[in-house]
Each structure stands twice: as C-alpha cells, then as structure tokens.
Amino acid sequence: MSSVRPKLKPETPKSITAWETATGRTVWMTADGGWTADTAQIAAFTGDEAEERLAAAAKQEAIITDPYFMEVTETGGITGRETLRESIRANGPTVAYGDKA
C-alpha cells in the first residue's frame, strides 16, 4: 500500500479503488468486477463480499496497483472521512492548472 487509509467497519459500504498500472489514472471496481474511470460506475460492497473483492483485486496487479477500500454511500457516492481526498483523486486538482491556470 502506498499509504495507510482509515479502517472501515464490515457493514460500511465501500468501493475498491486503485491506480491503473500502465497509466496511473485512478480507477474503481464496477459491480461486475471490472475497472472503470467513471465515478458513476462505482459499485458499493460490504462485509465478506467486499473482502473477497479486495482479495481478487490484489491478484490483478498487472492491470491495477495498490487497491484499497474507499468509503462510499450505498449507491457508490464518495462519502466519509476521506471525502475530500477521494474527491480530488476522482476529479483532479481543485485548482486550475497548466494552460488553464
């Protein structure tokens, strides 16, 4: 893990997020176990299923890197203590940069 994130309770809905290995862009697991860069497709998991999904993600290292649990609402919206960090991961810097600065 590149950084230690807060522990979430088993019943707390969570998504599995990671970085795409080839590009580094942020991705989330979809309901069918694939990966998406589209936050509308974020799936929420709980309990044992979440653990199994994370274990499965950890085996896909060629495709993704450093998967971890991210707190979400039941419908996959970013929420909880790390909302700011995860929103920035999802949407990019909060300031205009490069040619747009």
Partner: protein, 552 residues
Amino acid sequence: MYRYDEFDAQIVKERVAQFRGQVERRLSGELLEDEFKPLRLQNGVYLQLHAYMLRVAIPYGQLSARQMRMLARIAREYDRNYGHFTTRQNIQFNWVALKDIPDVLALLAEVEMHAIQTSGNCIRNTTSDHYAGAARDEIMDPRPWCEIIRQWSTFHPEFAFLPRKFKIAVTGAAHDRAAIRVHDIGLHMRERDGVRGFEVHVGGGQGRTPHIAALVNDFVPEDRLLDYLEAIMRVYNLHGRRDNKYKARIKILVNELGEEEFTRQVEAEFAAQRSHEKIDLPQAEIDRIHAYFAPPELATKPETSDVFEAAKASDKVFARWARTNLHPHVTPGYTSVTVSLKPIGGLAGDATDAQMEIIANLAETYGQDDIRVSHAQNIILAHVALDDLPALHAELDAAGLATPNESLITDLIVCPGLDYCNLANARSIPVGQAVQKVFADPDYQEDIGRLHINISGCINACGHHHVGHIGILGVDRKGEEFYQITFGGRADEKAAIGDIAGPGLKSEDVPGALKRVVDRYRELRSGKDELFIDTLGRLGHDPFKEALYAAD
C-alpha cells in the same frame, strides 16, 4: 556547466534500458508492485494521488536552454503541458503514464538529464545557491563541489541503501541562500590562510522533527572534503535507525548521540580513514571540474547602464520589477534576474511548456544560456546585461513571467499538497492563492518588504513551512482541513525553526488572519527597513499571536 563524459552518458543510457525492461515486466504482471516500487523510486517515479509523478534531477538547479526545451517537450508530449519546479531545485511531471516513462527518460538522456537520485534512501541531488557563480557577495562558486559530490555519491556502493534519504547543500556566499542548516549535511565554503575549505554542518532537517544542523567542523580543507563526508556517512550507516522510519534521518542520530559524541565519532572515523583509505582528490581533478564552471565571457561594460536608467525613469512597471527581481552580479553592468513563477493566484513553481520554451529562448538571447531553478520555486537567469533588461522584461511580461515579487510576501513557497500528493493532509495551493490575493497590491507588498511565507500540506514539510518567517502547515482534523501557523522560522545563516502560534485555523480564515499579523507588524516596526522577521525577534511573538487570533 558540467558536460557528461562518455562514461556518464553510457551509465545513463544503460539505466534507461534497464528501467525499460523493468517497466515491461511490471506491465506484464511479472513484477508485482512491491517488487517494482523500489525500482521505480530509483528512477524518480512516484505514485501520487491521481497519477504517476516523475521527478527529474536538475543538479544544483542549473539548466541549459537545450535542456529546458526538452523539459517543455516532455510537458507537451507526455504530460498536460506543464511541469512543477520544486523546493529541491528539481522538476516534477504530474501526469506521465508509466508505460511512457522509459521514452521520457530516453529523451532526457539525449540532453544529459535523468531521474537518478531524486528518490529513495540515497544521497539526493545536491542543492545550492541559485545565484552561484554570479552573485556579488559570493566568496567561492559552490557548483564545482556540488558536481564533485554528485560524482562521488552516484552509485557509491556504501550509499545505495542508507537508513533514509540524505540531502546535501553547498553555499559559497556569506548570505546562505541554499538553506544549508536544514540539510542532512550543509557545507559553507570558507577560505582560511589562502586555503579553501568548508564549514561542515550536520543533522539539519525539516519534516516531523525539525532540527537546525550542528556545526561539526569549522574548517575542512577542500582536498579532504570527500574523506570527511565519507566519515560522516559511515557513522550514519553504522548507527542510523533502520528499524524506525521516523527516527532514521541523521538529525535524530546527531540529537541522540549529542553533538559532541557525534563529532568525536566522525573525527575518529576520519582519522582512521586518513591513515589507510584516503581519497584525497588530486588538484588536477579539482581543477578539471572547476573548468566546467568557468564564468561566462561577458563583454566589459560600465557599472551603470543608460538604457536601464532611462527605462526605469520612464516606465513604472519596469522600475518596480527592477527594484524587486534583480540581484547584484559580480561583473559590473550585469545582474541576475528572477523570473517569477509566482503570479498572483497562480500555482507556485509551475511553468507551462510555452513558458519553458520562452525562458529557454530568453536564456540564449540575453542570459548566456544559463538557467537556474531556485529552492523558492522560481527561475533565475544568472547573467544578464543591464542594457538588455528592458527588452527582457517586455518579453517576460508578455508571457506572465514578470511578477515583481521576488522574496516579497506573495513569493510563497507552496508544496503540491492534497491537490496532487498522496501523503498530504490538506491542500496547500488554494490557501497560497488566497493569501496572495489579500497581499496582491504591489505597493502594499513593497511596503511590507521581505517576508517569506511557506506552506506545506503535511508534516513532511516539502513546502519548508518550518523555516518560513510565517509558516503554514495543513493538518487534517476528522476530514476537515486546518492550518497551523508558525512564526519566526528562517532558512538563512541565522536558521531557526518557527514556533507554533496556537490552534489551527480554517482555510477561509488564514488570509485575513495573516493580514492582521502583517498590519500589526507595519504598526510596530521601528522603521521601514526593519524586516518582519527582525521585528518579531525584537518584540517576541505575542503581539503577532494576538493579531492572528483577533476577531475581524
């Protein structure tokens, strides 16, 4: 400027090929992230919040126009048209894809650049005074010694797995512009009885446990420097705390052993080494490296320039910039120019590819092909004729690179913070922008005078908040950003770590609170030439704390 010999070129080329293979194996899944991470870090590749980040070494902050153009090309072709110049005098690209990084490194190798020694537990890029070889107050040019240290430390087998990263800084002027006392080793060049040497400071650093370095030896002659450094590294390698990341820096060791005992051990190691393994550099080698840094051949000019004086008299905007962004040059009729990367409301240290191209062109036209990156995240053109300043200023201004604020309150040092950094607790950039806005009026800034505000988004202190006259540290409180303010830090020869003023502030309260502090300073200063840091020293911190927490 140092030029690669065939060995340097070969080593860098081989390194690119090796890393290309490693990346291929990572992408095929043959290498797992845990195995790959130390390899990528040895090549400057980090995984940040939303992408990989590539940190490219700019040894002692010096670049040629050709190199700057290559950085521009990389920004354009492999990133999002910009790069970020850092407090370590390096550049970071924020959005490069891992699959492309071998190609990027190959392009860098074409212009004698690489990303070696920009991360991991090795001796990192040696940093220096950005006016080196140009400043009027310089006693000796530190760059040849930075280069000698670079050559000695790169791939040195004993230093490949240090307990922790290790940073060395060298300065050759009386006024320390390289913050040497907050480095693991800080070297201040001195001359004694006609012999050149170094005052050696060890164990400075910022981060979680900031320390000002201890003076370990007040004069090591230059031909013995490498032996002395080697002795320090051996003591560190032997006792440095590999078991605890937070205690692994040499500052902790110096502190735990005590300055006296640490010094005793270094001297003992030095003496032992001198008797059988000494690595005295032959004078010929010292001279050979120095030759690369010979001063540029500048046409003889009078001390004052009519063109320059006339432009100042007729153009207020130019006159202001000339007051703030120039630094006295050793050669009459010349100056060093700060190209500000701190436009009001911009991103400190960022430059677009187009701006990099412009800086490269201007360096060729007006600046002897010599570009520097300062630890304050600006660009310096080290040698510019006073006669050329009006033309240079016009071109910089058109490119948004002529903000007249060098060392003024809007020239903030700002780390990437939570907008980019995977370790951050809070954002730095928006807070810096908001602070800049309340002080934006250039008359107000000039009235305030030299005042360094430094911001870090976490305790790692990449934004040097501990040594800002005013420091701002972002902290996370249950998911909310707060900002802790420190007063009284400084990075120069009177280096000091700032004191925390009190409870953290919400981001929206920071600009107003700092404005109250600064206005209190303007009321209390003994005169216009008493700097904020000196008023603080004279009166203590209480009046400023009071202003900080006073209700609007």
